[in-house]
Amino acid sequence: MATGRLVEVYLDLLSQPCRAIQILLSCTKIPHRVHRVALRKGEHRTAEFSKLNPMQKVPVLVDGGFVLTESDAILKYLANKYDIPEHWYPWQPERRARVDEYVAWHHTNTRPHAAKVFLLEVLLPAQFGAQVDQDRLERALLELDATLDKLESMFLRRQPFLCGDDITLADLLAVCELMQPLGGGRDVLKDRPQLQRWRSRVQSALGESFNEAHAVLFAVRDRRQAKL
């Protein structure tokens, strides 16, 4: 059970896993303090931050003297420690296993393939002032397409959410990744009604916390569109 102490998190809301954590904290009203780390300003490479996390990555959770990295581990720690609605990370072994299954698969599927599209369309051109590498982008989009096929046919199928009837940590991680390419003005679910309906259900379930967490990403999108 929670003590009076605030849990601290180090986040950059432009980072997909950071948003997942922000949303969970906001939705469940776990008392917390957010320290913003602006990756684009190199704030993850300062001596101070490196002392906290030598791997120079976000998100990081600090609970008293306990420092934890890796969004999966952080989300599961929060779900286990605090008295939040059970559907996020169910106790029943088969239901919990379904969430663990998606969360594992996510690392080498949804996450890298969606992130790559954003990297190629937004981050790399912004960083190097170069044009988008169209060949690489085409290949990345094909790869993402294959992953979205699997997401629909293997996980979502006819269920309301990825792991069953209720929203879980799995939906949170997945939706934050699939929102990322929107920063470049690209809706990767544009031609996929089944996944669009899923996204709407997730947004409804998350309420205001979803929009608040994505405000930074939307701002990136809007600035880019203004330039074009």
């Binding site: 306990f66 990295t69 999966d72 581990a73 952080i74 599961k76 072994p93 919990r96 379904r98 299954e101």
Partner: protein, 241 residues
Amino acid sequence: MAVELYLDLFSQPCRSVFMFAKKNNIPFEFKKVSLMDGEHYGDDFGKISIIRKVPALRDGDFCLSESIAIMVYLAEKFQTPDFWYPADLQQRARVNEYLSWQHTAIRMQGSKMFWLRLMIPKMIGMEVPKEKMDGALEDLNNSLNLIEEKFLQDRPFIVGDQMSLADLVAIVEIMQPLGAGLDVFDGRPKLSAWRDRVRTFIGEELFDEAHQNILGAQEGMKQIDPSKLELFKPKILRLFL
């Protein structure tokens, strides 16, 4: 009805699941799935594993993929000793932290090294370009350094005095390059000592049994007909080259 475990011991995560089940005396039926023969693409297997990968578990009507999910499920169902996946929140979080990090780190690099050194040359009939090998080796070494410096530090095992799922998942990935003749323990006394502790904890016989196939891979490859590997060609060339 006993739990069914669908395994190919060439696969690192299958070895973790195998050792976990055996060490904990979990009764199971070993269902061999030969990746080399493309058995994971069969219709029957598709019903067991939605993602068409090994390892997979079937417990009555319940089917599950992903080794971490499988081991945590088995730990809960068979009430295995606490140290594997501690109930203590912070200890458990440390195990989860390693299990999360490793997917795109040591797991990828250990696999890549195995394919670059052994499987791909067999497939395409020549060695992989030196700069690819050097790059892959550098990445692998960076991960091994992180394992030693961040995850192990001065502890006997990743999370403390006792073994956990973290060590079980780590060891099988680190052993993989050995199957391709690369001794990652050479020049790494800390890692070697940890490997010895893990092997003792699991039981030398069980550890060696699990690793028999992979350590015999170089010999096995000599006998294999390269056309058998055609199945993997597009994916592997895309992933690794």
